[in-house]
Symmetry: C2
DNA sequence: CACGAAGATATTGCCTGTATATTGGTGTAC
DNA sequence: GTACACCAATATACAGGCAATATCTTCGTG
């Protein structure tokens, strides 16, 4: 079934076993959009993406449709597809919602995390501070991802989990665009570590407060970028 | 393009102008699932739905895929599609998230609503109490929908809006299943009216509290159904 | 009688051709 | 010179067919 595709294709992630072409196409596109490899404002078409990524039109179409629901692209019927612009006001509205959901996630994780998860969070807290001290961007981002995965899993709420995943996908693109100019990695690391440790200790109120302070920082970061682009 | 379809089709909602077949199929299926016309646990297939609703397979497929992302159905590859079961524990986790988001929406609506929206909410508050006094289910549900639309629009946050829409779609099915047994319409009406009036008066903290009390009631309602089915 | 292999059946995954909608350019009437 | 009708280009929307695959049934074998 995947005949010419693999030959034609460029830049496709390793196809994990059991993953449909639609999922592969989604992952590939999401990655390229979030990392700004496809810049905001780009106009694309199903056919262009299909031949560029080496998929058929159906998987691309379904992936684009999902990206449109996540607001990463806008589909204009019979016209084409535009990769969404990044906008500070939109970003602040997004953080308004993230604040509430992440506070909930932190609180529930503090209540519900297993011993293994608490240990893991302590490790991540230390690792983040080390990465910040060493000024290691990539390690920090990897740990941030890991932090989110563990926390969300520990909160034991699948609805909060998918909401957070969605919103963080949108935030991450903003971060990729601006972190070199305005990010204060040691501070970000400390704030993340404080949430992680509060969860690990099972202190619900402390986790809620630490989560709010983390979002405070992310909001300040977003505001600090105004006028920089 | 819609040739035999209209002839074959049964039970399709009026096709609003400019609405794609995919959207029509989605609306039709969502409606039938939420109102329990297609009961939880039902196993269906793309082909069955396509011929039953009078669409081709493509629109049905895309609609089902969206419903799967919303957790109203589960798609099992090469097996079939199952309409999700309704489950009290799931419902409580869902309310855990709804509580946070609806509190945010109530607060922001109190801050941001236009004068017209505030007036509209006062009208809805009165209408709900009247509907409860007259024991008019359908009027109450219509007003509830209107209340949600106005509130969410007034909150001026598109991310919160889509999150609320999603979660309420899932809650509504639970309500349809159980409201005859366990609902206390006068109380529900009073609690809704209190949120609406607090928003209308622009009292942010009162709106937050009233929203929490409303979700308290919905949670109690959900718990009260345990053992009833 | 238990159990395994092979075929039948049913379902989604994916591809591709055709229909339809939107738009920008071009010619023409005024 | 300007406004309008028309047409070509190009995009998505949709239909329907074939392929892949998961399950069920049947039949054979120990």
């Amino acid at each position: 079934m995947v005949r010419q595709a693999a030959a034609r294709g460029r830049r496709r992630p390793r196809p994990e076993p059991g993953e449909s072409l639609t999922e592969q196409a989604y992952r590939a596109l999401e990655e390229q959009i979030v990392t700004l490899e496809i810049p905001p404002g780009t106009v694309v078409s199903e056919a262009i993406l299909a031949s560029r990524l080496g998929f058929g039109r159906t998987p691309i179409r379904e992936a684009l449709w999902r990206l449109a629901r996540e607001r990463l692209v806008t589909i204009i019927p019979h016209r084409g597809i535009i990769v969404s612009e990044i906008n500070i006001k939109t970003q602040l509205r997004l953080l308004e919602l993230r604040r509430e959901i992440e506070r909930l996630v932190a609180a529930q994780a503090a209540r519900r995390a297993s011993e293994a998860e608490r240990k893991q969070l302590e490790g991540i807290a230390g690792g983040m501070e080390a990465a910040a001290a060493a000024n290691d961007d990539r390690a920090f981002m990897r740990l941030d991802r890991e932090y989110n995965e563990v926390t969300v899993a520990a909160a034991r709420n699948e609805f909060a989990a998918s909401a957070v995943a969605l919103l963080q996908g949108l935030s991450r693109r903003f971060w990729y665009l601006h972190y070199k100019e305005a990010a204060d990695m040691p501070l970000a690391a400390r704030l993340h570590a404080e949430v992680a440790r509060a969860i690990a200790r099972g202190e619900v109120d402390a986790a809620r407060n630490a989560s709010d302070r983390l979002v405070d920082y992310i909001e300040e970061f977003a505001r600090a970028t105004v006028g920089l682009d």
